[in-house]
Symmetry: C2
Subunit: 190 residues, 2 copies
């Protein structure tokens, strides 16, 4: 297997583009090579098989959508209020929606995971780590709200993003921002 | 175009099976004929093109997951309490999850809708009608909670179903039922 890290990352970013554009069934080594603009056969030098390409694309998603250190500092240093949590939640939703292709690719991977136990295991571990991190981080931040607040916001805001990205006519910008605010107000018991 | 209604419905149910198993890219007239166990060429006598097959499968989803009249009567006749709403929400989640194939097919259709404006228009209209119906029905029922309660539960419970169907290891049965209860308690202001 080849190991040039920049090339490997570019191939995974290309895989994410292919997943979003063509669905999981469209994800072939050939399509990835073409999307990345590299010679045919390159992707197959970096990934043992299609299963590995799918799981690594899933892991790459979580790198792509990482908040900046500046955003993370906002969480720890901001005021401990519901208003500030609303600001943070608007940032998360905006950030995930700005990574439209990656988010759609992850949905394709979730659907493909219903058919592939290995991919399902990798995504389950990654989502659980993400949820645990968010709950721990929230409790450590001394913001208002409990573990259930974090889980309820996780559920509601993920579907809000699905709605925006797949059927953008359902909630307009104003309604979405109002829904995020209400979700925070109600998810966090007074 | 042929119009035998039972045959047409069986073809759409076969299309839903194919969507869930193979993804939107796997949905061909040939695959539908095979899944339905009918002679090759049958589906193409019922649907003008692939776009129509996709949009009709989306509409069929909403027929398949309809609550029974008994369930609808529970909504109108039950006690006007949060506890009863929790019972109703558990029924909705359980019902949608019991239609696993149809729900996964609808997610495939939502992803396909990012590439097909006509499908997007049909699904948008259908989801909006569904949301409007649920809000109106809730307000008319004199249950506690407002329009935002209905929208927040719609968002949170849809992602809970996505989680169950795609990564069933994230929330176990006990956690899911507890989350539904907490979602209702908090979505509805006291």
């Amino acid at each position: 297997m080849r190991t040039n890290p920049e090339r490997r990352q570019a191939l995974l970013d290309a895989a994410i583009e292919v997943l979003a554009a063509e669905g999981a069934r469209g994800l072939t080594f050939r399509a990835v090579d073409k999307q990345a603009g590299v010679p045919a056969g390159t992707a197959s030098n970096y990934f043992a098989n299609r299963d590995e390409l799918l799981t690594q694309a899933g892991i790459r998603f979580y790198e792509v959508i990482q908040p900046t250190e500046e955003t993370m500092a906002l969480v720890s240093n901001g005021p401990k209020t519901k208003e500030h949590i609303t600001t943070l939640m608007k940032e998360v939703v905006g950030r995930l929606e700005s990574h439209r292709t990656a988010y759609l690719a992850l949905l394709e991977l979730r659907l493909e995971a219903t058919r592939r136990p290995e991919l399902r295991a990798v995504l389950t571990e990654r989502v659980r780590a993400d949820l645990d991190f968010n709950v721990r981080n929230h409790l450590a931040s001394e913001m208002p709200g409990d573990a259930d607040s974090v889980l309820l916001l996780y559920l509601a805001l993920n579907w809000l993003i699905v709605e925006h990205l797949t059927l953008p006519g359902i909630f307009d910008e104003r309604q979405s921002l109002a829904l995020i605010k209400t979700a925070v107000e109600r998810a966090i018991p007074s």
